[in-house]
């Protein structure tokens, strides 16, 4: 099959960018979206030009590196998959596909389709961890955890931190990401000691990084490659206001 790509090209953060059209020909419908970009890049490289820069790593949907807005949707048209697991069979032969980088003030553009998502790492550093020594693997059921809590914690922990939620949100809000990271620890016994400091610290960092507020539109949940639910945002709100009302200390390194 053949498609025409309309790709955002931008040399660096400060240089102006523009859309450039590329004809991608003789493609297999079973190629992944990234394989298609590889093929196009080969042709571009052979012609002596700079290939399209795009983020990728594991190419099996678990690392969260691949990104891109494909025809207006983060990770393309298919539900609950990342760009790496989007295949050309999801597109029509002869279609023009528009590829843009994730757009958010908190995700500054590095080059072409690559944005800097370090803001997410700094949010994790503000509380997305357990300070106690985990030790060796405990005996099964040594620490009782309700089944629904382990299930919910696993669902939250499925977040790969790709940033599609931010890219889809009209306010570039990171609430879905932060709520998943807060919840997966706050739901488990090991996370209880630092529960309030965690939620206060991570929300504060989220605001500082320049992400917007939540309008509950649900667009984040719809594009999430891991199907993270808005229910985690409600849970994070509960944890946050509980911590606020009880006057828990701020999460700072000094107070640890």
């Amino acid at each position: 099959m053949n498609v025409t790509l309309k790709v955002w090209r931008q040399e660096g953060p400060e240089t102006p960018g523009k859309f450039v059209r590329y004809a991608a020909q003789n493609l297999s419908p079973n190629m992944s979206f990234l394989e298609m970009l590889d093929t196009v890049n080969e042709t571009i490289t052979k012609s002596g030009e700079e290939p399209i820069a795009f983020d990728h790593d594991c190419r099996e949907g678990i690392c969260g590196m691949c990104s891109c807005i494909i025809n207006g949707e983060p990770h393309g048209p298919e539900k609950k998959v990342a760009t790496c697991q989007t295949y050309l069979r999801s597109f029509k032969d002869g279609e023009t596909i528009t590829i843009e980088p994730f757009r958010a003030k908190a995700f500054p553009l590095i080059k072409d389709l690559i944005v800097n998502r370090s803001a997410f790492d700094r949010i994790i550093q503000a509380g997305g961890f357990v300070s106690t020594s985990a030790g060796s693997a405990p005996d099964g059921n040594a620490i009782p955890v309700p089944k629904q809590h382990t299930d919910a914690a696993m669902d939250a922990a499925a977040c790969i931190g790709c940033g599609a939620c931010v890219a889809a949100c009209k306010n570039a809000s990171a609430m879905l990401f932060v709520s998943a990271k807060v919840s997966h620890l706050n739901l488990l016994p090991q996370g209880q000691t630092e529960k309030e400091r965690r939620v206060l610290g991570m929300v504060e960092q989220m605001d500082q990084e320049g992400f917007g507020a939540c309008t509950v539109t649900g667009s984040c949940e719809a594009v999430c490659p891991k199907g993270i639910s808005l229910n985690f945002i409600a849970k994070m709100n509960r944890d946050y206001f509980g911590a606020l009302l009880r006057g828990s200390p701020k999460a700072t390194v000094e107070s640890v």
Binding site: N171, C214, V216, G218, S219
Partner: protein
């Protein structure tokens, strides 16, 4: 962390204030509709209800001040959050896909603005009784029933018999209910009252509740305009 600074300085805190005032305003909207529907029980019942409301200034004024405070906080937070949110994406997308976001959820600030204008008109119309804006040329403040009490029933019939006034009223309550179709469930979500078990129910109840409110509010001007009650 200080509670007040947490409420005003964090994005979640501002949302929390919006949601809390939203709860108070939704409760008012429901009570106000139930009060209005006594129109269908006739002049005697409605005028008595209005008299009971207005004859207790010790209750009336604190309620009015409380409601006004809620409106002010709700609007302030809405404007503040909207301005902040608009700065979070400096370069827009060439291809936009609204995706799962409903029209109501994407237009809350616009529906809210028109509702705000409607509330001002509505208060001048039926509370301040400003004659120049009721478009009927009548002075509502002189209407009295057989007991010498303000004749609210007659005021409603004459007030809504003007189709432009009724049209703006229907637009106002229509947008209010459109706002609430997203607002009710969004405020419960912000307050953390949504979970997996109740989410679908809450989302549906939000839309159905907003629909019922619209039917309740719209029934009065529609009945009057179509001449079913004279």
């Amino acid at each position: 962390m200080n509670l007040l600074s947490g409420l005003f300085n964090s994005s979640l805190g501002k949302k929390f204030l919006m949601a809390l005032t939203g709860v108070a305003l939704v409760m008012f909207v429901v009570v106000h509709m139930v009060g209005n529907l006594q129109f269908f029980l006739g002049r005697e019942v409605l005028n008595h209800y209005a008299h009971v409301l207005k004859s207790n200034p010790e209750i009336l004024w604190p309620s009015r001040i409380g409601l006004l405070s809620c409106v002010i906080i709700h609007i302030t937070m809405a404007i503040w959050l909207t301005i902040e949110n608009r700065t979070k994406r400096l370069t827009g997308y060439a291809v936009q896909d609204a995706g799962a976001a409903s029209l109501a959820s994407r237009t809350m600030i616009y529906s809210g603005t028109i509702i705000g204008a409607f509330i001002v008109y509505h208060l001048l119309h039926y509370t301040v009784l400003l004659q120049s804006i009721n478009l009927t040329g009548r002075d509502f403040s002189v209407f009295r029933d057989v007991h010498g009490q303000p004749d609210v029933y007659r005021m409603m019939i004459i007030g809504f018999s003007n189709s432009a006034v009724s049209g703006f009223y229907l637009l106002g309550v229509g947008l209010l209910c459109f706002h609430l179709s997203h607002g009710i469930w969004a405020m419960l979500q912000t307050l953390g009252l949504v979970n997996e078990t109740y989410r679908t129910t809450i989302e549906r109840a939000s839309v159905i509740g907003a629909g019922l409110l619209f039917i309740g509010y719209a029934s009065i001007p529609v009945t009057i305009l179509t001449g079913l009650v004279k």
